[in-house]
């Protein structure tokens, strides 16, 4: 007979190394990524904050863009990963896709928050304000709110199947929601003429070392994101393992229940 844990489809644990016990969220993949990340990030830090030249117009503050721009792109990437993984989960119903969706969304939320904070810090010296209602910022703030809603759904007290289904629908709806939000906010703000104030006033072409640093920041960011995603995924996976173990125990206890009361030994029923 099938054991209760078999109702889950086998987890395609592409992240675990061959035989090592899954007791930590680190795996061979994360270790390799981590080792690569170390020099990559070190070089990035050097290039971004020391090596590349300061901008003609904006001075040193432009260095924040090497953080801000990659992070915002990664945040949107995370959201789309979450949406796509949710879609595949609805189709295939394996645990792996559910966890990928949830992990990506969580990391995405942190990245959106970071985007808004760094953008805010960048905005103050550059434009004199911490916040402005331009299209990009507003759209990103809306994205944050959508993601917070998703995280709230992940936390509902319900079975994995129910929670998975509901959060998958919310995540799938990210795609039309983000498109509609961005379109509406762009139309809205394009009616108000002050765009020159809020364009990125960088030197006419970003060239040479600055350009390279920007592209390199993307690459470093992507690697960092992958590392985070694998870790977060494994934490979620291990959590589910613990719950499944608890299940076998609960089954045992459940079957023992009541067999000592009056229902079995001839006394009055309790």
């Amino acid at each position: 007979m099938t054991t209760p844990t078999e109702h889950r489809a086998p987890v395609q644990d592409a992240t675990a190394a061959t035989d090592e016990p899954t007791a930590t969220s680190g795996s061979r993949t994360t270790r390799v990524l981590g080792i690569i990340l170390f020099p990559v990030l070190a070089l990035w830090a050097y290039l971004a904050f020391v090596g590349s030249p300061a901008d003609v117009n904006q001075g040193e503050v432009v260095r924040l863009l090497y953080v801000h721009v990659p992070i915002v792109v990664l945040a949107y990437t995370a959201c789309f990963i979450s949406a796509i993984a949710s879609g595949v989960w609805l189709w295939k119903r394996t645990q792996w896709w559910d966890l990928v969706a949830a992990s990506a969304a969580e990391i995405g939320t942190v990245m959106v928050a970071a985007t808004l904070v760094v953008g805010s810090i960048y905005g103050r010296p550059t434009w004199g304000v911490y916040w402005t209602w331009d299209a990009r910022l507003t759209a990103t703030a809306m994205l944050m709110l959508l993601l917070l809603g998703y995280l709230a759904v992940r936390r509902i007290p319900a079975s994995t199947e129910v929670r998975g289904r509901r959060s998958a629908i919310v995540a799938l709806l990210f795609v039309p929601n983000i498109i509609v939000v961005n379109q509406s906010v762009t139309w809205w703000r394009s009616l108000h003429q002050d765009p020159t104030l809020f364009r990125l006033n960088l030197s006419p072409e970003i060239e040479g070392l600055m350009f390279f640093t920007l592209v390199y920041s993307f690459a470093a960011g992507l690697l960092f994101f992958a590392w985070l995603l694998v870790h977060r995924f494994r934490v979620a996976y291990l959590q589910d393992q613990v719950d499944a173990l608890g299940l076998d125990l609960a089954l045992e206890e459940r079957r023992e229940e009541g067999w000592d009361d009056g229902w079995t030994t001839g006394g009055a029923p309790s």
Partner: protein, 226 residues
């Protein structure tokens, strides 16, 4: 198959509206709240400085949004009482029909509330109803969008203890572009530049269709608790 869905939707909407008629929650509580919003806005924004008039479209749609939220909460609170969700699942009604029925019930109540709010802004804020065609179409389309998204997220949050706070958290960010679009359309209508308004109506219409589609497809599985 579609005739069954529509028949079930009609049954469901009829039941919801009959419930409203007997309990009169929308009439006795939500409608006064709507008017209260308008009054409070006037307190908050000095009526003498012309801010109210200029802000009328936005204030109107914010009020509609909150009334819509209340109507949606109420619609799902009806089903959470005493095993009704189970009974609905056992009833043999097509889930798509239940979705459309709830959608129609909420939309109908919201349209009545909007009519009341229009009267309110005309009287209280001295608004003039120029571009009536655009105004009316915006109301219909935006109401559909609010009702469709509300019914979908409503069932998603239904049956959970945290329903009352989860629903606004999910629904309001999603409806923000609807608020944006409807306000811009109203501004276009009231400002005489109706051609600017139609693209917004189109955007909201697409939004409404997406949510109607997803709702029809997903409502059945979202009704399941386990």
């Amino acid at each position: 198959m579609w005739c069954c869905v529509l028949r079930d939707a009609w049954l469901m909407a009829g039941k919801d509206l009959r419930l409203e008629w007997r309990s009169r929650v929308a009439i006795n509580q939500i409608a006064p709240l709507a008017l209260l919003f308008l009054v409070l806005f006037a307190f908050g924004l000095d009526p003498d400085r012309g801010i109210l008039v200029r802000a009328t479209p936005g204030l109107y749609w914010v009020a509609v949004l909150f009334c819509g939220l209340l109507a949606i909460q109420r619609s799902f609170a009806l089903e959470s009482a005493d095993g009704n969700r189970d009974a609905l699942r056992m009833s043999g009604l097509d889930p798509a029909g239940i979705f459309l029925g709830k959608f129609a019930g909420i939309a109908a109540q919201l349209l009545v509330l909007e009519a009341l709010l229009v009267a309110g802004v005309v009287i209280l804020y001295s608004a003039r109803l120029d571009g009536f065609g655009l105004l009316a179409l915006t109301c219909v389309v935006a109401t559909s969008a609010i009702a469709a998204a509300g019914t979908l997220y409503g069932v998603l949050a239904a049956g959970l203890r945290v329903r009352e706070t989860l629903l606004p958290l999910l629904l309001l960010p999603v409806l923000a572009p609807v608020l944006l679009g409807s306000t811009r359309a109203f501004e276009a209508a009231l400002g005489g530049t109706t051609t600017d308004g139609w693209p917004w109506v189109g955007l909201i219409a697409i939004f409404a269709l997406v949510y109607l589609g997803v709702g029809i497809a997903a409502f059945g599985s979202l009704m399941e608790e386990t």
